[in-house]
Symmetry: C2
Subunit: 418 residues, 2 copies
C-alpha cells in the first residue's frame, strides 16, 4: 500500500516516544560555525568561545564608598562617644591618579570608585566622620580592608568570565563592555522560514467567512523563533497544494537551515506534507506519543531540517518548545538546549487522564499562596485553545507511565519562555 | 549650609525606606495616553483597553481529530472483537462547507479542523476504524461529544480575552491574530535617555588607561529598558561637569519622559547630579535604605522623571529593577509593575549581615536538587561585581528588620527579568 494511502486509511500505527524523537533530532544536528561581531551588537547571540578577561576588575584597589582612606588602626576603638582624629592630606578622585600617600594619623578624602591611595588599608564612610578644616574626626572603628574592592576582586586577568554556549543578556553584555572588548565570537544564527498551511486560513485583514480561520500560528512561531535566537528569513501562508509545498521547500532550503510548517501534517485527506517530505527528502519521525502534538513530523530535505507542527495553536506551541526551539539552540551550540526554567509547585486539583503511553502537556496557572506555589490546572482538553496559553504560566509534563495527577501532588512546572 | 556642601561634608543624614521611595515615585507618575497600532506590530506593547472577541473560537463545531463524524450511538458497544459498521456518505474538508448530513448508520470522513457535519455528534479517530470501499468498521465505542471542539468553546463572541494592562508576548499575539484583529489600542511607550557620567569612563574601543574604567552601565540599562517596554531616545557618556549635565537634562526633557544617569549621584566631591537636579528641578528622594544602591536619587525636571543610579554596575542594575522598571511600566499602565517572577527556594548557607535598617539585595544561584530548589548565595559584598549578575539567577530581598539568613531557611527569589 502506498505511504499516504496507508496513512490516510489507518492513521498512525506506531508512535515514537518524545524522548526518542528528541534524541534522534538532536543527534542529527551539527552546530553552526562562528563569526566575529561587534560586541555592541551581541545581545541575544550565543558565545562561540569562552571570553577571557585581559584585565583585572577592578583594575586597581577601589573605594566602595565616599569617605576617607585611612589606616584602619587609626580608627580602632573610635566611637561617637570616643572619637579619634586624623589629618586630611589630600583627595582621590575618580578617573584621576592619586600621588599622595596615607601615613599613620592621615586621611585622604576619597570618592566611590576612586583609587585607594598607597598606604591606606581601609575606607571609612563619610557618615562615620566629621570634618572641620583639615581635621577629620572618626566616629567609628573599622577593620582593615573595609570598603575597599581589591584589584581583581571581581575578575582576574586571564580568568574565563563567560563560557562558550552562553546566550547573551543585559548582564552578560554589561560584563563584556566593562572589559572593553570590541568584537566577540558568536555562533552564526540559523535562518528559519515559517509557513502556515491550509486552504482554510485567512490572514488578518481578510474578511471573515464562516468556514475559515485566521492564521495565528505564523506570528506566534516567528516571535518564539526570534526569542530562541533564529533569524527569520521568510514567513507566510500556503495552500494545501502539493506542488506549492514542494516549491517552497526547495526554495527555502537554499537559504534556510530550518523550515517550519504548521498544519497539514496529520492523516487528514488534505494533509500533504508527510507525502511531500517523503517524496523530496527524508522523514525522521512522524507521529509522537504526546498530547497535544501527536501528528508532529520531523524530517529533512538536503541540509534543511523540516518541522511539520499541527495546525492547532497549542499543539504547534508545545511542538515548538519541545523540538524546534532545542534544534535552534543546538545549531547555536547553546549549553542549555531548553532555556525554560523549572519550578516546583503543588497541583490544586486532580487531573485524570486517559491515554497512558503519551506524555501529556498540562498548562497550569501559577499562584503564590503563603509560603509555596500552587499550580492550577488549565483544562487539558482542546489543543486549539489559545487562552490556555495566554492565561497559563507554564507546562507540567505528565509522564507516559503516570495515570494522571492527584490534588496536592508536587509537580515541576516548566515556565513559558520569557 | 549649602545643599551640596552639607552633603559632601556629612553624607546622607537620613535614608528613605525602599517602600516609601517606591510609593512616592509610583504615585507621582501618570499613565501615558493610548494609540492605535497594527496588531502585527504589537509585540512587547501593553494593551490600553480590554480586547473583546467579535467571533466565536472555534467559529463552528470543529473536529479535533482525523477520523469519521458519526452518531456516537452507532459506536456503542463496538470493540476490535465486536466491530460495528457504518456507511461512508461523504467527506468534510478543512476550509470547505460540508453540505452532507450524517444520519443513523452513516459516517462522513473528516479532517482535523473541519466543520462537524449536521447530524453527527462525535468523531471517531481513524486509528479506531477500518475502511473497505464505503464501509467503515468501528473498532471502539465513543461517547457523544468525543473529539469535537464546540463552537465558542475556547472564546465566546463578546468575551473579554485579554485585559488592559497586559504586555503582549508570543501567545497574546497569536490570540489577537486568531481573532482577525487588525489594529489594537496600546499605551504609548515612554521615551528614555540613558547616560553614564564620569570623567573616568572609557567607551569600548578606547585605549585602556590604568585609572579609568569601561562604561558597562549604558548598554545594560538600554537593554533592560527595552525589555520593560520603553523606547530608547538617546544614550551615551557624559563628563562630571555641571554645565554639561544641565544641558543634557534640558535637552532630553524636551523629548523624553525618563532620564537615567549612572554615576555621580552620591556624596563624592565630583558627584554633581544631586546639585544639578536640585538647582534645575525637584529632588523626590535622595538616599535610600538599600544595599547596594543607597545613593540613588529620584527627581524631576519639568515633566521629565530623573533617576540617578550609582555607577557601580550591580547597584545600577538593582536600582533599575526596583525603581526605573516599575516607573516605565506605570507609564505603560501595566497591571503588573514588577514583571519578575518570585519562586520559593531553600538558602544553602548562612548569610550574616551588618546594617539593620537596610533592605539587602542578595544575588543567588538557583539549583534544582531532588524535589526542591536551592538558592546558593553569591557573596554579598561588592556592588561593582558584575559576575554576581551573570552567574546568579535572581535576587533575595532581605528585609530591614532581618539580621540575615540562616542556612536551610525558606526564601523567595525574584528571578532576573527574561
Amino acid at each position: 500500500m502506498k505511504f499516504m494511502k496507508k496513512l490516510h486509511k489507518i492513521g498512525f500505527s506506531k508512535l515514537t516516544s518524545v524522548k526518542d524523537a528528541y534524541n534522534r533530532l538532536i543527534e542529527s544536528i551539527e552546530g553552526n560555525p562562528s563569526e566575529e561581531i561587534p560586541s555592541k551588537d551581541c545581545l541575544n547571540h550565543v558565545l562561540a568561545s569562552d571570553v577571557k578577561s585581559e584585565m583585572n576588575i577592578p583594575p586597581f584597589d577601589r573605594s566602595a564608598m565616599d569617605g576617607y582612606a585611612i589606616l584602619a588602626e587609626d580608627s580602632f576603638g573610635a566611637s561617637p562617644s570616643n572619637p579619634k582624629t586624623v589629618k586630611k592630606v589630600g583627595t582621590s578622585e575618580i578617573g584621576e591618579i592619586c600621588t599622595e600617600k596615607v601615613k599613620k594619623g592621615e586621611a585622604i578624602r576619597i570618592s566611590t570608585g576612586a583609587i585607594v591611595p598607597e598606604g591606606a588599608d581601609a575606607v571609612i564612610r563619610i557618615e562615620e566622620t566629621e570634618i572641620e578644616e583639615d581635621v577629620v574626626t572618626l566616629l567609628g572603628s573599622i577593620p582593615p580592608g573595609k570598603n575597599i574592592a581589591e584589584k581583581g576582586e571581581d575578575v582576574k586577568e586571564g580568568e574565563i568570565i563567560l563560557k562558550a554556549g552562553t546566550q547573551i543578556k543585559a548582564e552578560q553584555l554589561a560584563l563584556i563592555s566593562s572589559l572593553g572588548i570590541e568584537t566577540i565570537k558568536v555562533t552564526v544564527p540559523p535562518k528559519i522560514a515559517i509557513f502556515a498551511t491550509g486552504n482554510e486560513l485567512l490572514e488578518v485583514g481578510e474578511t471573515y467567512e464562516g468556514n475559515k480561520i485566521y492564521n495565528s500560528n505564523t506570528p506566534m512561531i516567528v516571535s518564539l523563533s526570534k526569542t530562541y535566537g533564529a533569524l527569520i528569513q521568510n514567513q507566510g501562508t500556503l495552500p494545501d497544494d502539493k506542488e506549492t509545498l514542494k516549491k517552497y521547500i526547495k526554495e527555502s532550503s537554499q537559504t534556510c537551515q530550518i523550515l517550519v510548517f504548521t498544519g497539514g501534517t496529520s492523516v487528514g485527506t488534505k494533509d500533504f506534507l508527510p507525502e511531500v517530505v517523503e517524496e523530496l527528502g527524508q522523514i525522521q519521525t512522524h507521529g509522537i506519543a504526546m498530547r497535544p502534538g501527536s501528528p508532529i513530523l520531523i524530517g529533512s530535505y538536503q541540509k534543511c531540517l523540516i518541522f511539520c507542527l499541527p495546525g492547532t495553536p497549542v499543539a504547534a506551541y508545545v511542538g515548538f518548545l519541545q523540538f524546534v526551539g532545542p534544534a535552534i539552540r543546538k545549531m547555536l551550540n547553546c549549553t542549555q538546549l531548553d532555556p525554560r526554567r523549572s519550578i516546583p509547585a503543588t497541583i490544586t486539583d486532580d487531573v485524570p487522564l486517559s491515554g497512558m503511553g503519551y506524555i501529556h502537556f498540562l498548562r497550569v496557572i501559577i499562584k503564590e499562596v503563603e509560603n509555596e506555589l500552587h499550580a492550577i490546572p488549565y483544562k487539558l482538553k482542546g489543543s486549539g485553545i489559545l487562552t490556555s496559553l495566554t492565561e497559563a504560566d507554564g507546562i507540567v509534563e505528565i509522564s507516559p507511565i503516570q495515570e494522571g495527577l492527584k490534588r496536592g501532588e508536587k509537580v515541576w512546572v516548566k515556565l513559558f519562555p520569557w
